[in-house]
């Protein structure tokens, strides 16, 4: 059964449509990531679920209980929704200790003093910050603050937890650790979570399903594998991963296949989104899917190596041919001059320019 259901939610600020009808559902125990560029409406959607923004249309329900229904005029206040929300800034109350921050939701629910102490201690211990209870937020590191924010949102056992860019305030190293830890914690507790992020790697690492938003609409949704391997549009293809973009025209469009034609070259690939024969198109291929080949062949181009960057675990190479630039990775240094590159047909998406 779906824990959280969002149907056709629309929201407008003045004359600007922020959300143009977004639907999604989060199954029990699932982590769903809301992914998109800034301005795509992902944080607004999260705030709509929390009750901090009011859509003008649509429906939001949790475990069968309606939180918002535009047509019936139902709009529960944030405090009546019983959700857990972790803010991007953590929003820890600076005048309360860690203990008091986490205890506050229980106090609001009329839990007795002894129970509060026990439950807060359990919540803090379960995320490894039991020893920090008497500190104030400003005495904590960023990572510790994030854990307190999480404990505060979990202590009253909400059915769904909402996370707004939970890792964006941590430095790069800590972020990778926290990602693993957060995913483990959410699945251990059997929680359902909706998580906003602008980082596709983070989304793929943490989520069971990804919802890609673009301009207030759902561009595509699916498992991380589906999103990465079978993008449904040029936007989805380019938003995920690091890509090369090859301009040309579409040809031979049929049964989900298409070719990209430019100059006297023809590269076969997979049609991505609606595409018409002869239309201006882009070929999109992930950096890591471009292969070094040993000689001419189908779907291969001869290109000149122009620069080489050492990234530690590998090299990034830049090839050039006329106006065309192609980047790829190699494990070893390459001699200068011309090389053959192969664009595997199942890794080249041909999508209409729009």
């Amino acid at each position: 059964m779906a824990d959280l259901v969002i149907e056709n939610v629309k929201l407008r600020y003045g004359s600007i449509d922020i959300l143009k009808g977004v639907s999604l559902s989060v199954e029990r125990g699932q982590i769903v990531a809301l992914l998109g560029p800034s301005g795509s409406g992902k944080t607004t959607l999260l705030r709509c679920v929390a009750g901090l923004e009011e859509p003008h249309d649509g429906r939001i329900a949790i475990a069968g209980k309606t939180l918002f229904d535009g047509s019936k005029g139902v709009a529960l206040a944030p405090e009546e929704r019983g959700l857990g929300l972790v803010f991007q800034s953590y929003a820890l109350w600076p005048h309360k200790t860690v203990f008091a921050n986490v205890a506050y939701p229980l106090k609001l629910r009329g839990v007795s003093g002894g129970d509060i102490r026990a439950r807060v201690a359990r919540a803090l211990d379960s995320i490894g910050i039991g020893h920090l209870a008497e500190r104030f937020p400003h005495q904590l590191s960023g990572g510790q603050q994030q854990r307190v924010a999480l404990a505060r949102a979990l202590v009253y056992e909400p059915p769904v937890i909402l996370l707004d860019e939970p890792l964006s305030n941590l430095d790069a190293k800590l972020r990778e650790e926290a990602r693993v830890w957060l995913r483990q914690l959410i699945s251990d507790l059997g929680l359902s979570a909706l998580c906003v992020t602008h980082d596709q790697v983070e989304a793929m690492a943490m989520a069971d399903r990804i919802l890609l938003l673009n301009g207030g609409l759902v561009e595509q949704q699916g498992t991380p594998e589906e999103m990465y391997q079978r993008p449904a549009s040029l936007f989805a293809a380019e938003f995920m991963g690091a890509n090369n973009r090859l301009p040309g025209k579409a040809a031979g469009v049929r049964e989900g296949r298409a070719s990209l034609v430019f100059g006297d070259q023809r590269l076969d690939g997979v049609a991505c989104g609606p595409l018409a024969e002869g239309e201006e198109a882009y070929g999109v291929v992930r950096l890591e899917r471009v292969r070094m080949a040993d000689g001419p062949g189908p779907n291969r181009l001869r290109m000149a190596l122009t620069s080489e960057m050492y990234l530690g675990e590998r090299y990034e190479l830049v090839f050039k041919r006329d106006d065309l630039l192609v980047r790829t990775f190699a494990t070893a240094k390459l001699p200068g001059g011309e090389h053959w590159l192969e664009f595997p047909p199942d890794a080249l998406w041909v999508a209409a320019r729009s």
Binding site: G51, S89, Y104
Partner: protein, 556 residues
């Protein structure tokens, strides 16, 4: 929905407290006799009388001259002062910084008394100068003197807004100009100054507006020569016809408010635009102050000279006058020294009441007022509703009422509304008038601190299950506690300084130092007035010292 109820109730009370006095004044202006007279009719006679009265037009034009003149004096001085303090290495900043704000907290009547005592025809400085060169080369009782003194004492207002704006101009913007080849002074003129122009403009309109409110200075310095401005014209009108001419006073008040409203509105527009401008600025990084070089000490002396003339001189004058029996040509200080005035003060019950009442109204009254301002600010805090705009304008309305007008309106209100009548001769009436007059100032002080709380801290409270009321109590209020305490101190200073609002309410039980001094000055009791002035200065100094000690920012 108890919080919604709190909102509406608070705003309803605020609205009636603001609108009732103004409504009563407008109503009174269309009557042919005081509103409580048995036989009263609607009439435009009062308007006709005032508009045909030459004195009214003279007072109006004097007000315009004084307001324009003091703006012309205080704006350039204030901008220079702000630039010196915010951007240069002028010495002794730690001392100057709090000092330059002191004139804001000095009572204008006390300063006026001080100037008369120091620079009047037989003043302490005047007789000294006369002894040297044989004549006194100035006249303190003139429009020019009023304008210059008002201009000098209003420099801090310009300084405040300009220096705040200067500090907001991103260092990177100025550094960008430096790297493209501009000299420091050229950067100041071509980058910094244009960036703060909206703030300076705002300050200019504010000063011009305050010029129309002037009461203490023209009363003390203008009256002996028959010089009237609008506020003193209103004050003198009481005796114009020999009978209480309420309808005439109401007409003058309506005129003052009609002049003030567009100015207040203009201030709002300019403030909004200056904020917009400032937010364009880049990062507020630390920047190296400009080196004044050889001009360092001259700049320091300029600031000290300004302070000496606008505060030091009058305070010295009034303090000296309070410990001498008499002053005039050929008087030797050692022969006239006395503490008799202070002893007389102790024997004068009204003065003791005034001192006690002033302290009460500053401390307890100030706390009560800040509680009211906090309630209003809380009711309007983060409210997504059209009501907020209306409430915003309501809060601004008292700003258009000079203190003397608000005091008059309050007096009439207590006469008009029967259940309030018993409170007329209690301190409550004075407190209510003070609270309403400073509503805009106080509410902005408190709401300013509330807006500094991150929105997410309150949203977090809501999302874990707290109602609006609970979150206001458990998150918002505890976080603004410091700001509210600071507001209390500032309101204390302002209430102790206040004099004009209490003038019409002055009576047994409602004496405060400010209004009592105005009334005593009229009777020529200069000995008592000077002693009271010193006490007023001492109370304010104590408050200022405490504020500085606690690190309270002396402005909102």
């Amino acid at each position: 929905m108890p919080f919604a109820l709190f909102r509406f109730a608070t705003l309803a009370i605020m609205a009636s407290a603001v609108l009732a006095p103004i409504g009563l004044i407008v109503y009174q202006s269309f009557l042919d006799a005081p509103f409580f007279s048995p036989n009263v009719h609607f009439s435009l006679d009062a308007f006709q009388f005032v508009l045909e009265d030459e004195d009214f037009w003279t007072a109006l034009s004097t007000s315009v001259i004084v307001a324009a003149g003091m703006t012309a004096i205080s704006v350039p001085l204030g901008v220079v002062l702000a630039f010196l303090m915010a951007r240069t290495d002028v010495p002794g900043k730690w001392l100057l910084e709090p000092l330059v704000l002191v004139p804001i907290f000095m009572s204008a009547v006390v300063l006026a008394f001080g100037y008369v005592v120091a620079l009047g025809p037989v003043g302490i400085v005047s007789t000294f100068v006369k002894g040297l060169i044989g004549v006194v080369p100035w006249s303190i009782y003139s429009v020019t003197a009023i304008t210059i003194i008002a201009g000098l004492t209003h420099v801090p207002h310009v300084y405040l807004y300009t220096s705040a704006a200067l500090r907001n101009v991103g260092a990177d913007l100025e550094e960008a100009a430096r790297t493209t080849g501009a000299s420091p002074w050229w950067v100041a003129v071509s980058v910094s100054l244009p960036m703060v122009t909206p703030a300076v403009l705002y300050a200019a309109v504010l000063i011009f507006f305050l010029g129309f409110e002037l009461f203490g200075l023209p009363l003390v310095l203008g009256d002996p020569e028959g010089i009237l401005v609008l506020a003193t014209y209103l004050y003198k009108l009481t005796n114009k016809l020999g009978v209480p001419s309420y309808q005439l006073m109401a007409v003058v008040v309506v005129a003052i408010i009609l002049i003030a409203i567009p100015l207040v509105w203009l201030q709002r527009v300019l403030l909004a635009s200056s904020n917009k401008y400032v937010s364009v600025g880049g990062k507020a990084a630390k920047r190296a102050p400009l080196k004044l070089g050889a001009l360092r000490w001259p700049a320091f002396c300029l600031i000290v000279l300004w302070f000496a003339v606008s505060v030091g001189l009058p305070v010295f004058g009034i303090a000296l006058r309070s410990v001498v029996t008499t002053w005039g040509e050929g008087v030797r200080l050692s022969e006239v020294l006395t503490l008799a005035h202070y002893r007389d003060l102790v024997d004068y019950p009204n003065a003791i009441h005034a001192i006690v009442n002033t302290v009460l109204i500053g401390t307890i009254g100030g706390a009560a007022s800040v509680a009211c301002y906090t309630a209003v600010a809380l009711a309007m805090h983060r409210w997504q509703s059209g009501m907020v705009r209306i409430a915003d304008y309501l809060v601004m309305i008292p700003r258009a009422m000079p203190g003397i007008v608000a005091g008059l309106a309050m007096l009439w209100l207590f006469l008009f509304i029967k259940p309030l009548a018993p409170f007329r001769s209690t301190l409550f009436s004075v407190w209510l008038a003070y609270t309403i007059v400073w509503l805009a100032y106080g509410t902005r002080l408190v709401s300013g601190t509330m807006l500094q709380i991150g929105r997410e801290l309150e949203e977090a409270g809501r999302s874990v299950g707290g109602s609006q009321g609970r979150v206001a109590r458990d998150v918002t209020l505890p976080l603004v506690r410091g700001g509210i305490l600071a507001a209390w101190l500032l309101v204390f200073l302002i209430f102790v300084r206040e004099y004009s609002t209490g003038v019409y309410l002055l009576g047994p039980g409602t004496e405060v130092i400010g209004s009592l001094m105005v009334s005593l000055w009229g009777t020529g009791a200069i000995d008592l007035v000077s002693a009271l002035s010193v006490i007023n200065i001492l109370i304010i100094s104590a408050g200022l010292g405490l504020a500085l000690r606690l690190g309270v920012r002396l402005h909102g």
